[in-house]
């Protein structure tokens, strides 16, 4: 996996989510836009608050969290 050179800024996180067909629920968790009762989960099965969202990686649009442990797992897969 590669890190790539395309990023997004904090102030457009919700616009990026929209591109992926996601939105936020009242508590700030990422949900499916067409079913807002359905929270999006990480590959480990964790719900993701917008403030904890790192981005998207390959694998059915896998959403990843931004804590050190999640990013270590990601970093280990990078070339």
């Amino acid at each position: 996996m590669k890190l790539g050179n395309i990023t997004f800024s904090k102030n457009v996180r919700e616009d990026i989510l929209e591109l992926f067909g996601k939105s936020l629920d009242e508590e700030g968790f990422i949900v499916e836009k067409d079913d807002t009762s359905q929270r999006v989960l990480t590959p480990k099965g964790e719900e993701i608050h917008i403030d904890e969202w790192a981005g998207v990686v390959k694998g059915s649009e896998a959403f990843v969290k931004n804590d050190a442990l999640s990013l270590i797992e990601l970093a280990k897969k990078l070339e």
Partner: protein, 272 residues
Amino acid sequence: MNLILDKLKTIFHGKFDDILSNNNIKIFDFSKNTTNILEIKDGQKLDIDLGKANAEEKKLVKERIIDLMVQSENGAFLSADSFQKTKKIKSNLPTGEDEELLKFYKDKLKLEMYKALEASLVVRNAFKKGEEITDLKKDISKLYPTFGKNICNLVTREYFHTHFKDLYDSMIEDQDFDINLYQRKVEKIVQSLPYTVFVTRYRSYDDLSGEVRFKLEKLNKYGAGRLLLHGLGRENVSATLNLLEEYKDDKSITIQKELNPGGTIITATLIF
């Protein structure tokens, strides 16, 4: 890199040819711009403001750039903060001796403790390079509130490179050895770090005795109520027993001792 510029050209149909012909562009960031969809910042960053793009352009950017990068190019599409954090982590991942260390603990520690150890090694490597580690340490403490901060400190002080390895080597000699016993012992020591004195032959008896007295006074003041003494090896077990002797007549202190059958590992708790 040119691939993305080429894709943008096909999406915006000549609208930004002057910008998209700039070969200095190295980074692409989805952001908010002041006037246009595309703006160059700092000479080499192209900011793309999809809020200013129409629905068709947004759709094409998603399909031709983001999906291409994430799915076909096997890349990660991250927020700028997470991008920097991941880069920093990648450059500090355990290698060489650290990898060997992780191999040693892989089947010995509980998964949570093992993951925290791995993360603490990243913190230690970053710290050695003089990099900012507050954010990483905070993450580990948040994920493992009972031992995260302590394991970072113990890894920095190399206790996992020496002490906990020696502890395993000593414990495995006991006939009734069980890996759960080792895991519990490590957890107890890590969780009690601020209330622990490691008895080691590299320190004089007077020095150790002074630390025990100092910590007891301090803990008494803050009401923590217990102090752990941990000694490994016959010499240190003996020193620990001598330290305990100093408090045997103190009625305000109760002493609990755990000594392995071989007499090579002692964990004593002074409760007050």
